[in-house]
Symmetry: C2
Subunit: 241 residues, 2 copies
């Protein structure tokens, strides 16, 4: 029922960019896949929540810090644990190591439980014994920041496509990050790596929605993705080096 | 050095669509990943070709036929073999099975070898003993068709993004299919599955290129992706049911 567990990944060819390193989206995918698998093993996976409570997990915030981006074919180990649970939110942490145990990255994620019909938040104390899976190990990096709206100067458009949508029928978490990264100058993606990324997931976005991506880049590093009614859907900030 | 080998995959959450079934692009990714891994084991993987011949594999044509789309979390087995080699082209085949051995899909792929600097085709007879890895087993489905240009009526645009580009520095093979599938009506993607897909890869496309997707759909099922000079980059046809 409990534990600090470790999962292995091999960086696949489809997960690397032109530098033959994992993209930041792929690293995020491995981390979220680890979260899903570990929740399954704890009996609180998406399928357990669907069946037992008519509920599902929703990722609300995420922060990743990267020391080195893993290369194509490289073996990764991701260690994960739940550190905290309140009535409305739970925190899951991650350390990513290479095959010889050198740290590559760390991440902190915040999750809420929602009713799958009403999409409203549910009380996490409904999950019996969930408290027991928490580990008294501190967060590996600073918690995900609450991001502000950028004093937006530049704007990009994106229509939510079939390939953006996941099993929850909304845009997949890592797609928001992809849309933002895809706006960055190639020169920057060639020379730098993402040292830290913060993401706030605010609203769901559905197939066919026309989103705007507003940013103060290159003066700042803050992005807001807005729906057709100019409501924030997601905010992202990053540091590159 | 030789053989008919089998590889296992688990359908990951990031690979499924809103129906919780693998997307046709994900199925293609598993198939191409199998090709890469098996070529590595035969000593003719991309890294071997880079190091030994300054060359790389290029996928020129692909056909997939699907009986059943695998579901999220499902275990797949992909059996692969090389059936043919000429001086300019080699054919690799695939059968995809579910965990109890029921056939899910089959695929045939054609590959050329190119010089990584000049991007020109190279003679496959340069690969010592390559002939020995071929198996005298027929193609599982009809070979990939040579596709014609559609009498194009409808047109969509796509600019090649950072996330479209792979380790070869050109758009990843399955991205062409994704751009086409993303233009299809959601109603069709909800009710039908792809029974057969044919793809002809004609030119590479690079970051920042503005491509046009021309199609005779819904009258026909033929797509042509063109570069800024209206040259064909890729042609795709599909049957859905």
């Amino acid at each position: 029922m409990s534990g600090l567990r470790e999962y292995e990944f091999r960086v696949e060819s489809r997960d690397v960019d032109f530098r033959r390193q994992a993209t930041i989206m792929a690293l995020g995918d491995y981390i979220l896949h680890t979260a899903g698998t570990d929740a399954d093993r704890n009996g609180v996976g998406v399928r357990d929540l669907n069946a037992g409570h008519g509920s599902s997990w929703v990722l609300t915030r995420m922060a990743m810090e990267v020391r080195r981006m893993p290369a194509e074919h490289e073996l990764l180990r991701i260690r994960t644990w739940v550190s905290e649970v309140t009535r409305i939110m739970t925190t899951r942490n991650f350390h990513v190591y290479d095959s010889i145990g050198e740290p590559l990255a760390s991440a902190v994620t915040n999750w809420a439980m929602i009713n799958i019909s009403s999409r409203r938040p549910m009380d996490l104390s409904l999950l019996d014994d969930y408290q027991k899976i928490t580990q008294d190990i501190p967060c590996p990096i600073e918690k995900p920041s609450k991001l502000e709206s950028p004093g937006g100067k530049h704007s990009y458009g994106h229509t939510v496509l079939y390939s953006d949508i996941d099993f929850n029928c909304h845009a997949n978490s890592m797609k928001y990050l992809q849309w933002v990264v895809d706006t960055l100058p190639m020169e920057m993606l060639r020379k730098k790596i993402f040292r830290r990324v913060d993401i706030n997931f605010i609203r769901e976005s559905l197939h066919g929605q026309r989103l705007s991506i507003i940013t103060d880049f290159p003066d700042g590093n803050l992005y807001e993705i807005r729906d057709e009614e100019s409501r924030p859907v997601c905010r992202i900030s990053f540091e590159m080096e």
